[in-house]
C-alpha cells in the first residue's frame, strides 16, 4: 500500500484476525469457530477519519473492539503510535487505552443508570489520575461544554436525558481521556434522524478542534461518506475495498461496493424509477461459521467466474491508495 498517505500512520493494522470458538457439550469441546474478522489490513493517519462500512455480521464492530483491546485478537498486529497493542498486559493496556477511546452505539445501555453524569465522567478522570481532585468539577464542566451540554447537567442521571444528549455524555466521557483516536461504533444509528445531524456535526467539530483521528464504523454508507476521508468496505470478516471517499463513490471497483451504493435508497424525487431500474444483489450474507471457499462474495457476485470459487482473490492496487480484493476489479 504505497501511497503518500502512509507517511504518518497513527494506527497500522496488519492481518488482524478474531476467531471466536464455538464450544459445545459437557466436555466443552471446541466444535468450530466464528471467523468474525479474518485478516484485515488498514491504517489511519493523523487527523484522518477512516470509515469502516459493511452490513450486520461483517465484523466491523469486532474490529473496533479488537483495537481498543476489548477482545484478545487471534492473530495480527495493531501498531498504535509506534507500539504494539495486541495482547499486551492489562497494565500496559490501561495506558494505551487512554489514547484510544470508543463511542458506543447504544446511548441507553452504555451509561450506568445509577451514576450521575459527574460520576460517569469523573470516574474516568479519577482512575487515570488525569486531574487534581480539586479541579475535577471544573474539568467536567469543560468537557460538558465541549459537547454542547450545560454544566449543571453534571448532577443529573442518564434517564433524565434524551438519546442525543446521552450520546453527547458518552462522547464527553471519551474525551475526558484526551484520546488521540476515537473509535465511533455506529454513534448515530440509535438516534432519531433530526438528532443524528447534531451528533455527526459535533464529532466533526471535535475532530477538527482537537486534531483527532477517527475510525467511524457504520452500516450507513451515506453517513460514512459524509464524515470519512477514506473508506474501507467489509464483507464477511474481510476488507474488500479501501480507497478515498471520492474513489469509492465515483469509481467503486468491487462488485459488493457497487451493490451497496446501488441499494441505498436516495432521499430524492424520482425514487420509484430509480428502484425499478437498479440491479439487485440476490441472496443473503453467508454464515461466518462456514464461509464459502474462494472469494467470500462469490455466491452473490454478478461477476463470478470459476476462479472465484476456487481461490482467494489478492489485494490489487487499482490506483494509488485504492485497493480491491477481487479477480475482476472494476469490470461491470
Amino acid at each position: 500500500m504505497a501511497s503518500k498517505m502512509t507517511d504518518d500512520p497513527m494506527l497500522q493494522v496488519e492481518g488482524l484476525k478474531m476467531h471466536f470458538p464455538i464450544i459445545k457439550g459437557v466436555v466443552r469441546r471446541q466444535v468450530g469457530s466464528v471467523f468474525a474478522v479474518d485478516g484485515v489490513n488498514f491504517h489511519i493517519n493523523k487527523g484522518e477519519t477512516l470509515g469502516l462500512v459493511g452490513e450486520s455480521g461483517c465484523g466491523k464492530t469486532t474490529v473496533g473492539r479488537c483495537l481498543i483491546g476489548l477482545y484478545r485478537s487471534t492473530a495480527g498486529s495493531i501498531i498504535f503510535e509506534g507500539r504494539e497493542v495486541i495482547n499486551q498486559s492489562r497494565k500496559k493496556m490501561v495506558t494505551l487505552r487512554r489514547r484510544m477511546q470508543m463511542i458506543f452505539q447504544d446511548p441507553y445501555s452504555s451509561l450506568n443508570p445509577r451514576m450521575r453524569v459527574r460520576d460517569i465522567i469523573g470516574e474516568v478522570l479519577k482512575v487515570h489520575g488525569l486531574v487534581e481532585p480539586k479541579n475535577k468539577t471544573q474539568r467536567i464542566a469543560e468537557l460538558l461544554d465541549q459537547v454542547g451540554l450545560k454544566s449543571d447537567f453534571a448532577a443529573r442521571y442518564p434517564h433524565e436525558f434524551s438519546g442525543g444528549q446521552r450520546q453527547r455524555i458518552g462522547i464527553a466521557r471519551a474525551l475526558a481521556m484526551e484520546p488521540r483516536i476515537l473509535v465511533a461504533d455506529e454513534p448515530v444509528s440509535a438516534l432519531d434522524v433530526s438528532v443524528q445531524a447534531q451528533v455527526i456535526n459535533l464529532l466533526e467539530r471535535l475532530k477538527q478542534d482537537l486534531n483527532l483521528s477517527m475510525l467511524m464504523i457504520s452500516h450507513d454508507l451515506s453517513v460514512v461518506e459524509h464524515v470519512a476521508d477514506r473508506i474501507a468496505v467489509m464483507y464477511l470478516g474481510k476488507i474488500v475495498e479501501t480507497g478515498s471517499d471520492r474513489d469509492l463513490y465515483n469509481n467503486p471497483h468491487h462488485p459488493y461496493t457497487h451493490a451497496l451504493l446501488e441499494a441505498i435508497p436516495q432521499p430524492r424525487a424520482g425514487g420509484r424509477a430509480r428502484r425499478q431500474s437498479r440491479k439487485l444483489l440476490g441472496g443473503d450474507v453467508p454464515s461466518p461459521i462456514d464461509p464459502p471457499r474462494g472469494c467470500y462474495f462469490h455466491p452473490r457476485c454478478p461477476r463470478v467466474e470459476d476462479q472465484c470459487k476456487r481461490d482467494n482473490p489478492p489485494m490489487v492496487e487499482v490506483s494509488p491508495g485504492h485497493v480491491v480484493s477481487c479477480f475482476f476489479p472494476g469490470k461491470k
Binding site: E55, S56, S162, G164, D192, V193, S194, V195, Q196, A197, Q198, I200, N201, E204, R205, H219, L221, S222, V223, E225, H226, D245, R246, Y249, N250, A259, L260, L261, E262, A263, I264, P265, Q266, P267, R268, A269, G270, G271, R272, R274, R275, Q276, R278, L280, L281, G282, D284, V285
Partner: protein, 332 residues
Amino acid sequence: MMNQKTTEQTLLSIKNLSTYFHTPEGVIRAVEGVNFDILKGACLGVLGESGCGKSVTALSIMQLIPSPPGEISSGSIQFAGKDLLRFSSRQMRSIRGKEISMIFQEPMTSLNPVYTVGNQIGETYRIHEGLDARQAKEKSIEMLSLVGIPSPQKRVDEYPHQLSGGMRQRVMIAMAIGCQPKLLIADEPTTALDVTIQAQILDLMAGLQEEMGMSIMMITHDLGVIAEISDKVVVMYAGQVVEQSSIDELFKHPLHPYSRGLLNSIPKLGDKFVRGKQPLREISGQVPDLINLPSGCLFASRCPKVEKKCLENVPQLIEIAPGHDVRCWLAG
C-alpha cells in the same frame, strides 16, 4: 354507515383521528386530529420520527390500541365505506389479517418462536378461509415461493430462528398477504434489515402491490425508503400531520420547516463531491413532551423562522397548492 364523500378510489379515509393514552403523569396526546386518505392500489408513506404518532395511527386503524390506558377519543376511520370504529371486536377480527394486514419492524419478535413458519402462515387460512391443516400448508408453501424464499417445501417446516432476518421479514409478508388484503400496513418493515436485503424487500412489496392491486401504508423514518416506494406522503410531527403531498413534490418543494429540516439534516450520497463538504444542517432542540404540549405550533420551539403568531395560535392544515397541504403560518 355509508359516507357520501367517500369516492370510488378511496380505500381508507381517516378523519380527525385522536388517540390518547391516560397515564399517571397525565394524558399523552399520541395522535391529535389526523386526517388522510389512502387510494386503492396506491402507496402512502407516513414519515416521522419516534414518538410522532405514526405507529399509534396504524394501531388505531387495526384497533390494537391497548385499552386502558389507550383510547381512540374521536374521529372516524372509513375503510371501504364502513366506519371501523363502530365495529365490534368480533367484526374487527374478521377484518384483521383478511382485509387489512400489518407487518412489523422486528420480524424476530413478531413471529412465534415455538411454531413452524408454515403453521403461522397457515393460521390465516385456517381462520379466515376455513381450510384444513393440509390445505393450509399447501397454501403456505405457495406463499413462501411467492415472496421469494428458496426451497419453500423445506422452509415451511422450519422455525423462525432457522431463518435469516431478511427471510423472516419475507415470512411476515407472506403471512400478511395470504388472504390478499386490500390494505397492507407496514410499520418500519425494513429498518432492522441490511441495505441489500432492504432493497429486495422493497421490490417485493412494490411488486405485490402491483400484482394484487393492494394499497400500502408505509410507515418509516427513512426518507430514502419513502422516496422509493410511495406515491403520496404524510409527514407527522408530535402527533399531528404537518405536511401532505405527492412524493416528488415533497422532495422538490418541501414547505413545512420540519420537512425541510429533515431533508437538509441527512447526509446524501455524493453531495459532498458536488457541493463540497459542508456541515449538516441540524434541527435544534427536541420533540416536545406529548403530555405538556406547548400552545401554538408544536414545532415552534425548534423552528428557525418562528414568529409571535406561531407561539400563540395553532396553525391548521391547509391546501397551499393542489394536493399539497401544510400546517404552518408562514407557508405559501
